[in-house]
Amino acid sequence: MTPLKTVGHGTHRIDALQRVTGAAKYTSDVHLPGMLYARVLRSPHPHARIRKIDFSKAMALPGVKAILTHENCDITWSSGDQLGQRRLFNNPVRFAGDPVAAIAAVDRHVAEDATRLIEVDYEVLPFLTDVEEAVKPGAVAIHEGGNLSLNNQRQPAPQTYKRGNVADGLKAADRVFEASFTSAHHNNAQLEMRVSIAEWSGDRLTVHAATQGIANCRTDIAKDLKMSADNVRVISEYMGGGFGNKNQCQDSDLMAALLAKQAGVPVKLEFTRKEDFVAVHGRWSSRQSYKVGVKNDGTLTAIEFTALTGAGAYRKGSCDLSGTEIYQVAHLETSVSPVYTNTAVAANYRAPAYPQGVFGIESLMDDVAYAVKMDPMEFRLKNMTRKFRDQTPYTSIGLEDCIRKGAEKFEWTKRWNPVPGSGAGPVKRGAGMAMGMFGSGLGRSSAVVRLDGQGQYHLHVGVTDIGTAAKTTMGLIAAEELGVPLEKVNVVWGDTDTCPYSVGESGSRTTVQTGMAVIEAVRDLKKQIAAKGAPKGTEVLTAMATTNPPPLQGQSRNSFAAHFAEVEVNVETGRAIVTRFVSAHDSGRIVNPLTAQSQVQGGAIQGIGMALHEELLYDKRSGLPLNAGYYGARIMTHLDAPMVDVVWIETDEPYGPFGAKTLGEPTIIPAVAAVANAIYNAIGRRVKSLPITRDKILGVLA
């Protein structure tokens, strides 16, 4: 790979100064003159029909200006449910936290007081919190058509994939292994809570939104409010994290817009931290079952995989599971069924379908490796994917190097116990590894680049930069292609009035998709400069590009990773801590190694939290969440976080901006399974349920 001048060198964020001085304006920092504050009243019941809402006392409170309930607001929140079954305010309410009313008042205290004065008469209905109970015959139906949700083709059937014939594959096996795993609903828990500020000027709506994608947010708001997108402006100058739960438009955007319309003044609606845990969304839980055939020499012959996933009360996400594709196997059948329960809604959280699926398959493959007396690393090198679905060549694949170089950095042969659980104790040490992959497709995005008469370049991109350093990445790509220093490129972002379409920071697509648009816009600008000369005085040259590449013919473009974890488990207390961690990633060329390292370390540490503590618990008898909030859900802290060493495997990738592939989401994918496998290696017993809390460790040791 040829070294480049600007791309590939660790570079500070172009907005780092704003981020360390408090000058960066996040959505909740925006104050508009005359702005009201809004609060939401939510259902205290997991399932209930609203007979009557009396808000006369609330509206009589001085300072209360507007109210929304299902009675005066019949708006469908389309990005809140892929099947279009979710209103802003639903009746019946289907989980504890489903919105019942939103109220706007002169300040936050009056708004809070007013929500307490709303009287709601509920007819309490039977409820379900468990996916297995929800699919039993006779279970109370949460939606018409029952509790099995449709598949992603909107058919009343599971999401399936099949190649070969599992029965043949199992017949060809010397040994067959079966195992089941579960994973919990856990929360994105980004520091910035959901917040929207809406302001009308005639028919034109401006929403300051904490969103991962201003372009999609704008079109979704327009769609749900039945407006022309030309009349909607979305601004997101700085954004305090999302990890998938601020994609598209949020219910708060719509509620703020409708309250502002009713009140005739701007409205700010900010959810509380508790609302963020119970009423936004987290990663879908899963019940996974596998059957695997293997020959005595360790060659896989078949994988059969069935699962139920916990969608919660509405179908906001795909609720699919991934993981089996990292193995080469002739016979594979998978079947995943999303299930409704009266619990918090599940949807995208960093690599939505992956870390829990990889936990299942990689835990089982670890067991298989030990059973056929192979080093788990050698087993993976033997059986890892070589072609996508064993059929389509990858544009580039550095998975083997991720495993080998990651193992070297980790000192795998020194740290891994050939005999699991053989340590003297009470603190036992063990090492585990796992691998992962993630799609890195090309796709549509736009960029505009201008050169002014003073020789300054202005790059307009519709990114919001949710912490990924996307603005800086776009600036680096432009500077590289222009052959100028980064300082010569002024990046303009975060406002649909000044920025063209970008896919938004979801699916880890910004670097690849918007980055390609930046390169093409710059190439056009360079042509114009060559033809017309550089602009002078008040002259400006403008170029724009929208890339809409056709799908790669006969090739698959993916990022790869292998993670290695060392743990210490105290077999008397059940406490597990991660003492060493290595993340090896093939994401093609790394555009900015400094900020990319931040992402890889952060993704791994989130994965460790998912492996060891994080879970939103429900009380089965009341149907209520028990531990909403940072302490209760045991989010990772400074003291929980180990040092994460990063290994880059920069494959020579022919596509994408300077050969860059996807990075943000793969960083969490193998981490969970690596920790789980390290715990097995330490104690010699397998915990098959996430999170692997102390009680479960003590349970398998008992």
Partner: protein, 192 residues
């Protein structure tokens, strides 16, 4: 470890305030902050980033609410509003406190330092420099709090070990989980 007594520390901060106050002094609020009729209010004297201010606050306001909603000091963030995440950490007479868990009226006569007061005379604090250098903020929403807790630590302990940094900062969550870079940045500021 060099220990600074609380008294010496408080005196030190006061000296700093005098120095800052020598530059054009911003007087108390020109315009009173609008408050709700019928809600108990109390006038307080408060020093914020070296500037003395007199404000009338509603008794139910938290310190972070006063700073963000009424004094336009929005560098301090609210991540949970319930004493769990540390995003709202400020220094009150040099002690790091969650400003979401302090009532504004309790601040009468106290001196508050927020992230906006870290840079002095247009020069960034060494911690801010190190945070930029080591890419400590990802989304940046917890960064002000991480800076203030690190500042408080370094004022008490100028040469902390890596583990002392992690322990001191453990009440400040970062969901981007950029903990490695935060600790590296603080250690680099220590060396600087």
């Amino acid at each position: 470890m060099k220990k600074i007594s609380r008294r010496r520390f408080v005196e030190g901060t006061s000296a700093g305030i005098v120095a800052v106050a020598a530059i054009p002094e911003i007087k108390a609020q020109d315009k009173p902050i609008p408050t709700q009729a019928g809600v108990p209010r109390t006038p307080i004297k408060i020093t914020i980033n070296g500037v003395d201010r007199r404000v009338e606050v509603e008794d139910r306001w938290t310190l972070v609410e006063l700073l963000r909603d009424h004094l336009d000091l929005t560098g301090t963030k609210i991540g949970c509003d319930r004493g769990e995440c540390g995003a709202c950490t400020v220094l009150v007479d040099g002690t790091p406190l969650y400003s979401c868990s302090q009532l504004a009226v309790w601040m009468n006569g106290r001196s508050i330092q927020t992230v906006e007061g870290l840079a002095k005379n247009g020069k960034l604090d060494p911690l801010q420099e190190a945070f930029i250098e080591h890419d400590a903020p990802q989304c940046g929403y917890c960064t002000s709090g991480q800076l203030m807790i690190a500042k408080a630590l370094l004022m008490k302990n100028a040469r902390p070990t890596r583990d002392e940094v992690r322990t001191a900062m453990t009440g400040n969550l970062c969901r981007c989980s950029n903990y490695n870079h935060y600790v590296e940045a603080v250690m680099a500021a220590v060396k600087a």
